[in-house]
């Protein structure tokens, strides 16, 4: 039933956007984490979205039309780590520089707004499909 599939697709969209939001939250929370469990400074996380169709493979528009979205991977940002001069810190290197995370707060805020809008759009699509399904029951 196509309306049920539409609900599932919108649900996959909301789940993926929520994951993107949690990546943003993680990045902002760790904007000053100079030590992580791996011993190095925190690197910004980015989620990678991927369209998934029910049939598995993706070929042509008709297959894409069936597609939900899924978080394919969470990758670390390739941006170089920042350094700040702080000789008094116990984490400073021989030259007195401390390696800081490569989180860009401006980028994260923009990413957050984008994720919020996409989440809302998915929610609207979900509600429309739901009201159509209820309308069909009322026939």
């Amino acid at each position: 039933m196509s309306l049920a599939t539409a609900l599932a697709i919108s649900g996959s969209g909301m789940a993926a956007e929520a994951e993107r939001l949690s990546a943003v939250a993680s990045n902002l929370a760790n904007a000053n984490s100079i030590v992580t469990s791996s011993g190095t400074a925190y690197r910004a996380r980015e989620v990678v979205f991927r369209a998934v169709s029910e049939g598995g493979g993706i070929e042509g528009p008709s297959a894409i039309g069936m597609a939900g979205v899924r978080v394919a991977a969470v990758v670390e940002s390739a941006e170089p780590l920042r350094t700040s001069y702080d000789p008094s810190s116990s984490f400073a290197d021989d030259n007195g520089y401390v390696t800081m995370p490569n989180v860009n707060p401006v980028e994260e805020m923009v990413n957050m707004i984008s994720a919020q809008q996409d989440y809302q759009a998915n929610l609207e699509a979900f509600n429309v499909a739901k009201s159509l399904a209820l309308r069909t029951l009322a026939i």
């Binding site: 539409a6 609900l7 369209a51 894409i64 039309g65 159509l132």
Partner: protein
């Protein structure tokens, strides 16, 4: 005079099915609004309707004498599953003219939201036509509308 009891209903069944399918496609577009490389698609409703209901473009057309559910095998009555309705693949087309972002995504969120809202209205319209047709048949069976409402109370 012989008139099948489902006059017109079969046509609206196709309409509701296709509108539901288009809603699904637009939902997929919205869900993938941030997916790199995703190209927005849409259902060509008119073409799809012509494909699933050939020659049945208007509900007033007299029906053929054979009924759709005179099947040889009961399995033919089961729905076609959750996949795309058969024969519709050719009617699903890429949206053209929408701006493509740097990551290769061509979903225009606002345009898709408008299309989804418009599609929902059309779906509601078809659903209310079905309701009206059923009410008309009920009146024809019971003799009058009031009789029907009395029976229901």
């Amino acid at each position: 005079m012989s008139v099948a009891l489902d006059t017109g209903l079969e046509f609206y069944r196709h309409v509701l099915e296709l509108r539901g399918y288009r809603q699904q496609i637009l939902s997929a577009d919205i869900a993938n609004a941030s997916t790199p490389g995703f190209k927005a698609v849409d259902l060509d409703f008119q073409e799809a309707l012509g494909a699933v209901a050939p020659g049945e473009a208007s509900p007033e057309r007299p029906r053929s004498s054979e009924l759709a559910w005179l099947v040889d095998d009961v399995r033919d009555l089961s729905p076609a599953g959750s996949g795309s309705p058969a024969g519709l693949a050719a009617s699903v087309k890429y949206q053209v003219g929408t701006p493509v972002t740097l990551d290769g995504n061509s979903v225009d969120l606002n345009q898709n939201k408008v299309a989804a809202a418009e599609n929902a209205v059309q779906y509601e319209a078809a659903a209310s036509f079905v309701s009206q047709t059923i009410r008309m048949l009920t009146i024809a069976i019971n003799g009058s509308a009031s009789q029907q409402s009395n029976g229901g109370s």
